[in-house]
Symmetry: C2
Subunit: 205 residues, 2 copies
């Protein structure tokens, strides 16, 4: 019985986050309202306030759900896994409203009451961990500072999706990600490794 109630609570929370993502994606943080999110998710005020005390709470939950929309789709290892992470992200941002809303909220923070660096930091940590392992296995050059590379990748991806959004509504984002790797790999991968990395972004279509 307790288990059933817990399951239902988890499902309700997910329903609310999905509704919030749709509304944030469409209206941004400032244009979204809790009442609109409740309507979209089809939940009562009681259910809403049981899970989320404020619009800021909701925005943080949406922002911090980003990795869950990308990481489970990966099965490669090492440096290829890092490349694949950016590839999956470039496609998912075009299809997954939760990822897109999370990215929009993260980037629009300056104009809002939400202040949360953790989406940037969490992405950087995931990338750093994988890069460090790739370096230990000899795929990444010894002189590369993997923490700095991880933060640069997060920054470059953040900026690429904004640039791509301005010029093509994000449609050319996947090819921009490939172009980034063509430029980065020669300086980052160990001798002979760059050639073994697949840059076929379309295999995640």
């Amino acid at each position: 019985m307790v288990k059933l109630q817990q399951d239902r609570a988890v499902r309700t929370r997910e329903t609310i986050i999905k509704g919030a993502a749709e509304v944030f994606d469409e209206y941004g943080f400032n244009g979204a309202s809790i009442s609109r999110i409740m309507k979209r998710a089809g939940v009562s005020q009681g259910a809403m306030y049981f899970h989320f005390k404020s619009k800021e709470d909701l925005a943080r939950a949406v922002m911090n759900a980003q990795p869950d929309t990308v990481v489970p789709r990966l099965d490669s290892q090492g440096l290829q896994r890092i490349v694949d992470m950016t590839f999956v992200w470039a496609w998912q941002i075009q299809r997954d409203v939760l990822l897109r809303a999370g990215v929009r909220l993260t980037n629009e923070q300056e104009g809002t009451s939400v202040r949360d660096a953790s989406p940037y930091q969490e992405w950087a940590q995931i990338l750093e961990m994988t890069l460090r392992q790739a370096q230990q296995e000899g795929e990444v050059g010894e002189s590369v500072d993997v923490r700095q590379l991880a933060e640069l990748l997060v920054s470059a991806c953040t900026g690429m999706q904004m640039y791509a959004n301005a010029v093509s509504g994000r449609q050319d984002l996947p090819e921009r990600v490939v172009a980034m790797w063509r430029i980065l790999l020669p300086g980052v991968a160990s001798e002979g490794i760059a050639e073994s990395i697949s840059l076929d972004v379309r295999r995640f279509l």
Copy 2:
């Protein structure tokens, strides 16, 4: 007489743009109003509408003034000039309200009625031109696609200032730019050139 009137018109336009930059920097596009900008700039409604028909017009002028705040401060050539452009930009964004407002407006477009990819494109063109020359002079590897590198630099800088803004109010932006070049230069500069590039970001302090 006509010359004097023209001079005055140019000065008035600059005064309006500076006032607009201050208001946009503080309130963002949606929070700014023409009347607040008029008040800040100390100009009449007649003068305002002689130069700018709408808030969108003003925002475009502020966004497109970005290179003027960076390029005149450069005197180096070739690949060093590209590096210096990013260094000057990293410091100026902390001091120059016109640059900061231009960057904020460019990045916040998704939530506003302004749609203008030209700030990204103009930066990319300036960088591409200089990179192409550096490549012709043998400083940039022949296999590097300079257009793609230029667009990646614009994207990376865009993302870096947002990441830096979230974690340090942009104070660590200059060191992030140095870290980017440490990672990029080995794959981008021709044999033996990377070592000759100064990465002393503090010389622009």
